[in-house]
């Protein structure tokens, strides 16, 4: 009988010791974002907050982008997940990731535009607007000269 109680005690102790054990398994997939600066450089090690659908009170997860500006998380419900990425320098982005039936439908972000394209298109718009303003100003001067 004593032996039985001793074995029972030892088994409880062993179970207690194992209670704080941690096991792990590899997982794949998930949802996420890649954050890039305007010049195409990755937003590395930026602070990330993930908010679950309909739960803006506190973040579901906090973390950091990796050196390539990427961040992945595992959504546990469908809906629009909100990700906020902040580099601590006033730059960052807020994007929604739409998850349906456990799969990512869209990240809601714009396409990454190469810097030369941005530069040319922006300068084109500025030239257009300046030309329009110049045209109006010149016409106004001509009118004033005509009246005089």
């Amino acid at each position: 009988m004593k032996l039985f109680y001793a074995v029972l005690l030892l088994s409880f102790l062993a179970a207690g010791l194992c209670a704080h054990g941690v096991s792990g398994r590899a997982i794949s997939g998930g949802a996420g974002l890649e954050a890039l600066y305007a010049d195409g450089e990755p937003l590395s090690f930026g602070e990330v907050k993930v908010y679950a659908p309909g739960d803006a009170a506190g973040p579901f997860q906090r973390g950091y982008t990796d050196r390539n500006g990427r961040f992945l998380f595992s959504p546990d419900s469908d809906g629009r997940w909100r990700l906020e990425i902040n580099d601590g320098m006033g730059h960052g982005l807020v994007r929604e990731v739409l998850v349906k039936k456990g799969a990512v439908i869209s990240s809601g972000g714009p396409a990454v535009i190469p810097v030369p394209v941005k530069l040319l298109s922006g300068l084109g718009v500025i030239a257009l607007l300046s030309g329009l303003w110049l045209h109006l100003a010149a016409r106004r001067r001509l009118k004033a000269a005509g009246k005089a």
Binding site: L43, M89, G90, V125, A127, S130, G131
Partner: protein, 202 residues
């Protein structure tokens, strides 16, 4: 320093939008009847500000900073012109590339355009020499970074202390580059096109 939408609280957004709108309205009114000769210069200045803000430099901690280009415009064209030019470039960046938010345009305009244009011009007038930009640039960068840090802090996006110093310090470092670029361009213009340094500063 282009704060995106969703980062600032309603109060900060409202206050900066009102402040930015006031400066934009006055500068538009002042430049409304600009002579046709001046308009291509304003267009070139807007192109300069837009282009340099696309070029980023790595900052400590993996972040990124960029030049603003406003000091050069303020020194050549005056504060109201520099502010309007900066607003145009910021609006274009926000609309076309989501580089900075539309709702946070007022905050970005105050941090980048208003502080740099008016304070830059005021400091420039004290000693209007190309080399002055070497001192004014980092100072403006620091103050712009500080303004950005205060807005983020008030919105609960930035812890005090180290975050303030990191942001303002990184912008001051970018300001060093801004000062050097501005000083060299002003020096080159004084030799090649001295007339550009004698324009009416509005």
């Amino acid at each position: 320093m282009h704060i995106p939408d969703g980062f600032l609280s309603g109060g900060v957004l409202g206050a900066t939008a009102l402040g930015g709108l006031a400066v934009f309205s006055v500068s538009s009114a002042r430049l409304k009847n600009s002579p046709p000769e001046r308009i291509p210069l304003l267009g070139a200045a807007a192109a300069w500000v837009f282009a340099v803000q696309l070029l980023a430099f790595p900052a400590p901690g993996g972040a990124s900073v960029h030049l603003n280009g406003v000091l050069l415009c303020a020194a050549l064209l005056g504060p109201w012109s520099a502010a309007l030019v900066s607003f145009s470039a910021l609006l274009l960046s926000a609309l076309m590339f989501q580089h900075g938010g539309l709702f946070s345009l007022g905050a970005n305009f105050i941090n980048i355009g208003v502080i740099q244009a008016f304070l830059g011009f005021a400091l420039w007038r004290l000693r209007p020499a190309a080399s002055s930009a070497l001192v004014i640039g980092p100072l403006l960068g620091f103050l712009s970074g500080l303004a950005c840090a205060v807005e983020l802090y008030l919105s609960g996006r930035l812890a005090s202390g180290a975050g303030f110093l990191l942001l303002a310090g990184a912008q001051a470092a970018a300001g060093l580059a801004e000062g050097a670029v501005t000083a060299s361009l002003l020096g080159a213009l004084s030799r090649l096109k001295p007339g550009l340094l004698r324009l009416e500063r509005v």
